[in-house]
Symmetry: C2
Subunit: 172 residues, 2 copies
DNA sequence: AGAATCTAGTTGCACACGCAACATAATTGG
DNA sequence: CCAATTATGTTGCGTGTGCAACTAGATTCT
C-alpha cells in the first residue's frame, strides 16, 4: 500500500513548497522588520492580532491559538512585550485564572509606525510575482488549509492510535 | 506611498496566512513523523533532498540552500544524522574544503519506510480540503514565490541602505 | 457541599536555531 | 610566485521554543 511515486509525491512537494516559501518569506522579512521597528516576527504577529481586536485586547489562550505559538511560547513572548512596554497583562474579572493581553498606548504607537513600513517591505518583496487575482486565490486556499487545521484537535490530541508503534528501523 | 489600508492590508493577511498554514501543517505533521520514523521535520527535509539527488549525495552548501536551514543549522543537522548513521560526510576531491553529505544504506532504508507513511499522513491531513486542480495551482504559486526569493541575494545581503536607521520609537 | 475532573496560564528543562567569528582552502591580482 | 580576497564549512555563544510538570481557579458529578 502506498508504494508508488507520482501523484502522492506531488503532495509531499506541495507541503515542502509551503514550508520553503514560508521560511523564505520569513527570512527576508524578519531582518527588515527588526531594523524598521525592532520587532521579531512573532512579536509583530502578536501585536497585529491585538491591533485588530476590539479594545486592543485578547485572552492569552485566544492569542495562542491565533498565532503560530504554543501557550508556552506565547507566555514568553508576551513577557518580552510587557518588558518593552508595548503590552500589559490585565486580569479577567469573570475568570480569575485567565488573563488579557492588552496593547498599551506605546504598543499602538509602535504598530502605527511599523505597519506601513512592513506593508512596504512586503510590497517590495511580492510585487510582480503574483497577479492580484492569483494573490487572492492563494489567500483563499491558504485560508482553507488553516481553517481545516484549526478544526482538528488543536489542544489535546486524541486520535493517535491507528498505527501504534514506531514502524521504521530503530532510529534512536 | 503605501499608507492606506485595505488592499495593502490584504497582503499582510496573505503573508500571515502563509505563516499560519505552514506552521499549522507542521505542528500536525511533525509529531506524527517523529512517531512514525523518529525523524524531525528538518531531518526529513534533508533526507528527502538526498534521496532525490543522483548518487544520494549533495554538497553541504547545496543542501543548505535547498532546505530551510542556514549553513550553521545544516551542519548541526547533518551531525545528528551522522550520529544516527543515516548520513555520512565525504570529502570532495576537487574542492578540499567542501564536503558531501551522502545517504547511507541505513538512511535509504529509513526513507523507504518513512516516505509512504508520511505521504499517508499528508493525505489524511489534506484530503477533501483542496481539489486536485487547486492543489496544483497552490503548488505553482508557492513555487513562484520560492523561486523569486531564491533569486534575491540569498547569501550575503547587499542592498540594505534605502531606509537607513530604525524609524520607530526607541524599542530597545 | 465536597471530591474529581478539566481548563488557563506559567515555569524548569533541554534542545535546536541563527549570528558572528573562525579555520581552511580556492581564486584573483600584482 | 606570493599577497589579498573570496568561498566552504564548522564552532562559541546567546536566545527562543516546545514539552511536560505544575499552580490555581472553574466545572461537573454524586
Amino acid at each position: 500500500m502506498a508504494g508508488e511515486q507520482g501523484r502522492d509525491d506531488e503532495r509531499v512537494t506541495t507541503v515542502g513548497l509551503l514550508f520553503e516559501s514560508s521560511a523564505g518569506v520569513r527570512r527576508v522579512l524578519e531582518p527588515q522588520l527588526l531594523v524598521d521597528s525592532g520587532l521579531s516576527n512573532h512579536s509583530f504577529d502578536v501585536l497585529v492580532r491585538l491591533v485588530r481586536s476590539p479594545g486592543f485586547r485578547l485572552r492569552m489562550s485566544e492569542l495562542a491559538s491565533q498565532t503560530t505559538l504554543t501557550p508556552s511560547g506565547l507566555t514568553r513572548s508576551v513577557d518580552r512585550l510587557e518588558e518593552s512596554g508595548m503590552v500589559a497583562r490585565e486580569a479577567c474579572p469573570e475568570d480569575r485564572r485567565g488573563a488579557f493581553a492588552v496593547l498599551t498606548a506605546k504598543g499602538q504607537a509602535v504598530m502605527a509606525e511599523a505597519m506601513p513600513l512592513h506593508v512596504a517591505r512586503i510590497d517590495d518583496l511580492l510585487d510582480g510575482v503574483l497577479t492580484p487575482e492569483e494573490e487572492e486565490t492563494l489567500a483563499s486556499m491558504l485560508r482553507k488549509i488553516r481553517d481545516h487545521i484549526r478544526g482538528l484537535g488543536l489542544s489535546t490530541a486524541c486520535e493517535e492510535s491507528e498505527s501504534g508503534a514506531p514502524l521504521v528501523s530503530g532510529v534512536s
